[in-house]
Amino acid sequence: MLSVGANVVGLLFAVPAAWAMAFAPGKRAKDLLLWMLSTKMMPGVGVLVPIYLLFRDMGLLDSLWGIGLVLMLLNLPILVWMLYTYFKEIPAEILEAARVDGASLYDEIVYVLTPMATPGIASTMLLAIILSWNEAFWTLNLATSNAAPLTAFIASYSAPEGFFWAKLSAASTLAIAPILVLGWISQKQLVRGLTFGAVK
């Protein structure tokens, strides 16, 4: 629920942002994109303390909203970048035709762009959900019991007495299973989404 929900919210921000980058880029659009991607290059541990303190002061520690916010923000650069590369493949003339036909910006995105970009959006969401599903660093540090997702649950099987190997293995297998099935079913779309726009 956290993985899907956080990324659906992320998509609501990422689609308009990617539209702007692809179809109405300013002078610094490329620089902005690179900056967004550069935030993924920094290890999370480098900003753990300030984020922890912020969450503590805002009352977001060990809350679903807090974890959801972190998961969304972690994946937002990837969502924007992948959607941007997919949107660049869509002929701008089709959106111009919609504009001449009387479509507002909202109509253009909802009735023309999104349906055309559905495969790209689906593969982007799939990748984002997988990344959120596997996210352990932030969930372990910002949640204890109330908002602890599956990764925290698995980590709880390591104790001072040692590892509860059997239970750990069972929980890990259960955690992997849904993503494995989802990834297997949608492997073509995943590859297409990851490589789309790489080669003309």
């Binding site: 002929p91 003339e93 089709i94 111009e96 035709a97 919609a98 504009r99 001449v100 036909d101 009387g102 479509a103 507002s104 109509d107 009735y111 023309v112 349906p115 055309m116």
Partner: protein
């Protein structure tokens, strides 16, 4: 009503000026064709009229109303793109109905208008197909149908026939001409093909490097080009431009002789020439010549002419159809 006026229209991308102070008037119900070489700014000018590009300076008026800062949807125009720009995820019906849906028309009105447009364009049997299931000509008709249903003040065509094969291009040219005759709506048509311009237009606007070179009826441009550029652009094959003694003795820096306005003889004539190549089309023969002291010439002769490569002939221009230009390339009347 669809009279369009452009007043001192200028467009620049950064420091690069692509449209230079264009003043133009297109009357209601007129079929105006913007023609010129690639990169001359004709598509940019069309996009400025459509509202898809912002003006750097100047005004655009439609029926006397300033639409310079009005969005494309509010200008009451419809556009047919070179690549058709159909919505691939919608059926033909959906494509044609989209503009009416955006205008929040009632479903029964949408149904009626879509069916009427489909009938006009012979698309009634294809309404439930997707664009990828249609041929090039059918897709073009859907693009036109999408424009027709809006009942616009003017249609804008951006090289709509460029992606079609030669035979289909001729057929669609006739259909668009007939459509104009039936609808009597202003049409602004962009093409680089001067044959399309000559056959379809009420008024041709010749552009070069962002400036209007000449505006006039097709035969006016053909018979009285105002300069070397228009003279060389209008007419196929291109007008033969001759400098030197032959021009000087006629009081000009350059003379122009259309390929169809010269006579060839095997015995006598003003210029001696050797046949380099003869192209036999059946109805015409295009002869490529190297003339002494003149240089290369291309002539169009009616019917089949048995001219052999290397054969010596004599060429005489028809004085009454000769064009004279001064040292600045401007027409001398």
């Amino acid at each position: 009503m669809g009279a369009i006026q452009l007043k001192a229209v200028r467009k620049a991308f950064g420091a690069v000026s692509v449209i230079n102070d264009v003043d133009l008037a297109i009357d209601d119900s007129e079929f105006a064709v913007f023609v010129g070489p690639s990169g001359c700014g004709k598509s940019t000018l069309l996009r400025l009229i459509a509202g898809l590009e912002d003006l750097t300076a100047g005004k655009i008026l439609i029926d006397g109303k300033d639409v310079t800062n009005v969005s494309p949807a509010q200008r009451g125009l419809a556009m047919v793109f070179q690549s058709y720009a159909l919505y691939p995820h919608m059926s033909v019906r959906g494509n044609i109905a989209f503009a009416l849906k955006m205008a929040k028309e009632k479903p029964e009105v949408i149904e009626r208008k879509v069916n009427k447009a489909a009938a006009t364009l012979n698309l009634a049997d294809y309404l439930d197909r997707k664009p990828r299931q249609l041929s090039g000509g059918q897709r073009q008709r859907v693009a036109i149908g999408r424009a027709i249903v809006r009942e616009p003040k003017a249609f804008l065509f951006d090289e709509p026939l460029s992606n079609l094969d030669a035979a289909l291009r001729v057929q669609m040219r006739v259909e668009i001409g007939e459509l104009h005759h039936v609808l009597k709506t202003t049409m602004v048509y962009v093409t680089h093909d001067q044959v399309e311009a000559m056959t379809m237009a009420d008024k041709i606007v010749v552009l070069d490097k962002g400036s209007v070179m000449q505006v006039g009826a097709p035969l006016e441009l053909y018979n009285k080009p105002n300069g070397l550029f228009v003279a060389g652009f209008i007419g196929s094959p291109t007008m033969n431009l001759i400098r030197g003694e032959s021009a000087a003795k006629r009081g000009a820096a350059t003379i122009g002789v259309r390929p169809e306005h010269a006579d060839v003889s095997t015995t006598e004539g003003e210029w001696r020439a050797k046949v380099r190549l003869a192209e036999h089309l059946g109805s015409d023969t295009f002869v490529h010549l190297d003339a002494d002291g003149i240089g290369p010439l291309v002539l169009r002769l009616q019917g089949e002419k048995p001219l052999a490569v290397g054969q010596e002939v004599f060429v005489t221009p028809r004085e009454a159809r000769l064009h004279r230009f001064d040292k600045d390339g401007k027409r001398i009347d």
